[in-house]
Symmetry: C2
Subunit: 152 residues, 2 copies
């Protein structure tokens, strides 16, 4: 496990400040190491280094989890990066706060638009569903009857 043992050795004994190797982080967050390295490449993560080896802090882990959440929400990495950077505007520069607020609002507007699009798509699909179910009933067949070979 490389130098990690050495590191953990340096720390008194226990959890101290909880750090992770890339494999640990990958396992716990259920991503590949490749993905993690890629995020670092794209400056979404910036773990500290111990020689060559990456050491991830709790903060790094939180960031990664935010990244993954963003992905599940369908955001691009670029967008996620923007939002993360945006969240870290904790300086008291008014201009920065304003820009952040503005971007956030734009994204809200985008999402509201998407919501509406999805809603209308759902309406159409449900219409289609009713149509198909009706046609099956016409043929004296129960639409709820389970069809076999239903696996992934």
């Amino acid at each position: 496990m490389a130098k990690l043992t050495a590191i953990e050795g340096k720390e008194p004994a226990g959890v101290g400040e909880q750090e992770y190797t890339i494999s640990e982080l990958a396992a716990e967050c259920e991503v590949t190491q490749r993905a993690i390295r890629f995020y670092e490449d794209q400056h979404l993560l910036a773990p500290r280094r111990l020689g060559q080896i990456r050491i991830f802090s709790r903060r790094d882990r939180v960031r990664l989890e935010l990244i993954l959440r963003g992905k599940r929400l369908g955001f691009s990495l670029a967008a996620i990066k923007e939002m993360l950077d945006l969240c870290e505007v904790d300086g008291d520069h008014v201009q920065q706060l304003r820009v952040a607020l503005d971007r956030g609002r734009r994204r809200i507007a985008e999402l509201v638009g998407q919501q509406q699009d999805i809603a209308s798509a759902l309406a159409e699909l449900r219409e289609l569903e009713r149509h198909l179910a009706a046609r099956l009933r016409e043929k004296g067949i129960d639409p709820e009857e389970i069809v076999k070979s239903d696996a992934a």
Copy 2:
């Protein structure tokens, strides 16, 4: 306009059944010709041919518009194709109807999931918005004040 003139010549005089060349269709639907050819390549469209030249019917145009709508809704071309094919299950083969119904329901489930994801993303973003706005007010600044350079 190549053979088109010849074709229109064959038709009595006017609109007859309204057909389009690829450039006309592209212009009216605001897509590139390349995209249209690509959709044909992927079997999402199948215009008739007059020699080499593609001739699009009203039905083709409707299909294209559905494709574009699907795209706006974030569906992949594969998914769109599936749905289009699905909508055209007008044969009375029970098995087909059932499969179509099943797929439709799965997609509905997916979309409902997306809706929820977006809803929670929106909740977070609105939370962030409140936070930022509050911090600006703390500094005695009106969050609604318009920021310049607001263009695209």
